[in-house]
Symmetry: C2
Amino acid sequence: MSLIILGSVAFDALETPFGKTDKIVGGAASYAAIAASYLYDHVKIISVVGEDFGQDNLEKFTSKHIDISGIQIKSGEKSFFWSGRYHNDMNTRDTLVTELNVLGDFDPIIPTSYQDAEYILLGNLSPQVQLNALERLTKRPKLVVMDTMNFWMNIALDDLKEVLKQVDVLTINDEEARQLSGQYSLVKAAAVILTMGPKYLIIKKGEHGALLFGENSIFVAPALPLAEVFDPTGAGDTFAGGFIGYLANKGVINFESMKAAVIYGSALASFCVEKFGTERIETLSALEIDQRIQTFSTLTSFVI
Amino acid sequence: MSLIILGSVAFDALETPFGKTDKIVGGAASYAAIAASYLYDHVKIISVVGEDFGQDNLEKFTSKHIDISGIQIKSGEKSFFWSGRYHNDMNTRDTLVTELNVLGDFDPIIPTSYQDAEYILLGNLSPQVQLNALERLTKRPKLVVMDTMNFWMNIALDDLKEVLKQVDVLTINDEEARQLSGQYSLVKAAAVILTMGPKYLIIKKGEHGALLFGENSIFVAPALPLAEVFDPTGAGDTFAGGFIGYLANKGVINFESMKAAVIYGSALASFCVEKFGTERIETLSALEIDQRIQTFSTLTSFVI
């Protein structure tokens, strides 16, 4: 039994109103795997990096007992690199540099030791790569979670719809839900998207929290009100990793367990934005996570 | 013991993507008083209308046992009239007509029978009128709730700050909180506003719910996810009326009771937007309200 995280492992260079970084470790799989590792013991990454990524960076994963035998290391090539600058509101950003490098022709390889996976997160990557990874598993995992973004809706919508047919849970943001469904109301958008394949849909609304739809029910999760968002990079990936990590640990898949999973994802994401990149989520303690979960509970509980 | 609602009683003409109305009853006090009347028996309006308002329209209040002896009826004059058109997203609107009429020189008169009021909602009106009404009470109510909007921040900020000093709870929306505080982060905005007088602050975020700040705590209330918002007019006033109506009924003023009050306000506002104007909130049953409160509870409850 294990949890596979498919996604990019990469370098980012970030600028926010609070400062800027040189190249630091980023990528959807990095955030998601680190987040999931706090909740589940058998996390395995499928990804690709260049020779430049370095052993010390890979130790960010192995030190958390994350299996990296599915990370291909391409000698003589460079890792995916993204550079962006956030605006003052932290909700919008400009991409300064995108160098696909090894990600340009990424062909996911599934180690034999991964074939027992019961959970898989198809992190934000081209839908074709997501589909390839899924099809190369000899046994369909009991839970397939997919994260994607508007970029793929713009350039690979048909492929994206193919993957969607095979997915149990889709996580996207509010604008992406509107784009994918053609509906402005998120309730109507969810109804449309739930006919496309997923049985559950999570709509991420950043500072406004998240909505979970499925089983003819809706759950509204708050975001933690924060005085400062230091760096929002990776919050969505951290959310997805926390979400599926909780479910893998729990072993129960229904609307009730997904509600708690959304809270865990939200709590881990609330740590992620406190520092640049993966810095904050690399150093969490179990106590900190428990306290943050308790904060989420207090935030929304009321007695009539 | 009673609850005073100060605010406009007026005519509105509305256009939404779902249709349009002729002149119908509107105004902050109309929405707030009707909402409060479901939760508390001694609701009293202070307002002014013209001769055109008509006895049949006043019966919308008296039929709900709302005391209208504080509504001045100006013979030969016309009621406040506002006409607006909502855009397709229902979040933005254009004002087509504003005729102040009797509201232009409104001087609030407090009937002697209102002087025992323990609760007052200073509904959205000029800060000077809000202050006049408050100063004409011989005994300060034990709870003063103020609603206002960006319009008054633009043209009467000093007056508004004077009223704020006398207020226990302020309700405004997110953009107004940013404008009033000069802070983008709502957590920082709340910290600034809570130094201006109010002990509690409610930030209304429309479809994203509401935040309650006070006693060094935060409460996050969801909005009911709706497939269609038919007409958002009056939702904020309905929220404020439900909020203070619940507290007047409960008789307890602290963070815990305010959390429940925010949920009642949100529930009543969720009915308001289902039809044009006050149409929906005029016909609520106690059972419908109870069921809606239960829905809010289900929306946010989770078990770890």
